[in-house]
Amino acid sequence: MSTVAVRELTMADALNEALREEMELDASIFVIGEDIATHGGLFRVTAGLLDDFGPKRVIDSPISEAGISGAGIGAALVGCRPVVELQIFDFVTLTMDQLVNHAAKWRYMSGGQVSVPLVVRGPISSGIGMAAQHSQTLEAWFVHTPGLVVIMPSTAYDAKGLLKSAIRDDNPVVFLEKRLLYARKSKVPEGEYLVPIGSADVKREGTDVTVVAAGQSVHLSLQAARQLARDGIELEVVDPRTLKPLDMDTIAESVTKTGRLIVVNEGPRAGGFASEVVARTLDHVGLSAFRAAPVRVTARDTPIPYAASLEREVLPSLEDVLAAVGRVMQG
């Protein structure tokens, strides 16, 4: 029997613990973002940090996404470990130059002289009627950017362990938090633990179909799995947790077993993460390993609409996952 106390924590609280623990261990860590200090962040992820670590390490910034990201890079170059919050991740569009042309390339361009231990984190807030400019799922852009690490946790446990790893990692990390998961609880042990970067987690074992999904999509997939289990169809749900680097070994192993692949992703279909998983898995396991063509379950290729009736329609749904399983089971 484990002697470690285990609590149920929300993902927001788990992320807050990760920041607190790491900031206590390492004085070179500071967090900066809009409304993160006195207000504790719109979603409470940085709540209380100002009191414990003071205004030099917990900074309410002006509304300057590019500026604070660039400042984070500069501070990282001289030995700090900044954690930059983007209040909503759609605003990363304002700082692509700093992240892509600077954070991701500085080490390589310098011939390995420097590293950029920076974490840029924030929420993906689709599904709650925030409309087109506050609901994007953009991980595919970062997966396409050499030099970046991309993380998207689905549980409080993974979120805490991965954020701690991200802060300790010497590379620039894009850390994506699903708004709807902040309040979701899962078991989190007391005290120190890390979740390794680049390692997937099989959230549910199954023999018939491999479902690759990260973040919110994991729960949609598990829901489908529970329902299909009644009909005797067993889904294996693989949560990469890290999208770049991607743990292809685990994915390939699963697909080799099931012969069927479904990728669930909340971003638009064209050029999305699902396409990448399909193409790479083919490279790894070959054509013959598949009993059916892989299927991508994604959002429609539209901006995210405001009205509930429309937003529900464009985002991937349980029905979409079930239909995809139907397709791959027919072969």
Binding site: D60, I63, I128, D301, Y306, A307, R312
Partner: protein
Amino acid sequence: MALIRAFEAKAMELFAEKYIRGSVHPYTGQEAIAVGVCGALRDGDYITSTHRGHGHCIAKGLELKPMFAEITGRATGYCKGRGGSMHITAMRHGMLGADAIVAGSLALATGAAYGLRLLGEDAVTVAFFGDGGAQQGIFHEAANLASVLDAPVVFVCENNQWAISTPIASAINVEDIAIRAAGYGFPGEVVDGNDVLAVREVAERAVERARRGDGPTLIEAKSYRITPHSAATPTDTRSPEELDYWRERDPIGRFGRHLVEAGVATEARLEELARRAREDVDEAAAYALESPYPDPAEAEQDVYAPAEWLTPGRLA
């Protein structure tokens, strides 16, 4: 102003009753700015707006029914329910659109102003934005570009002292945002944003200047939002003293007292107008709630403008 005040009160109600998703950013307390500025515009002029845009819409002459229908996500809304509270666009009223990206529309307004001039129209475009938005890079680029293009645009910075939980004093090290105009070579004016007549006067000057072809103006209207940042972010850490200070300077009350003192209107008449505003708002809200939701089958419409390549099954 009373109409805006009543509209926002109703919107907050509808949010509480879950008729509105996402959020609502009430314009309450800043009404004099939109009313004063839009009063200086004429038909054919344009505005761009922000996440806190209902007041701009009403002041520019948009109708309450399609506004409420939009923010409650109905098919009868200005944007067929696609945009919601933060994205009301109404081209037929010269409303180019509200933008949920802080300061995101400043370059759009500059380009619209330049484009209209190129097309031979003598229209003026006004871009509303907040004090927090003045720290965005696009403010700098749009202002400088407008200056070198002599674009007939007026930048209206609504300095309500706060950006969510961040006081303007912690976001900048200067007293007035307006002084930044000097760095671009056009006038910057500070005005009491709670005095509708003062705002109107400054706006007339700026609009006239732009229409003459003399280029942009930056107006900083000092005001205050007397309600929390938004329905989704209700926590408000601001001191009661500060709130009281500004409530006393409520633009509606001030203008009302002015009208009464000037003998233009009676207390009773003002009461009457406020009541009518509430009635109009209730009626419009009722209309919205009776309107149908958008048909899910139409979710993929309007991503692209009609084009010969836009045939079924061809879209990537």
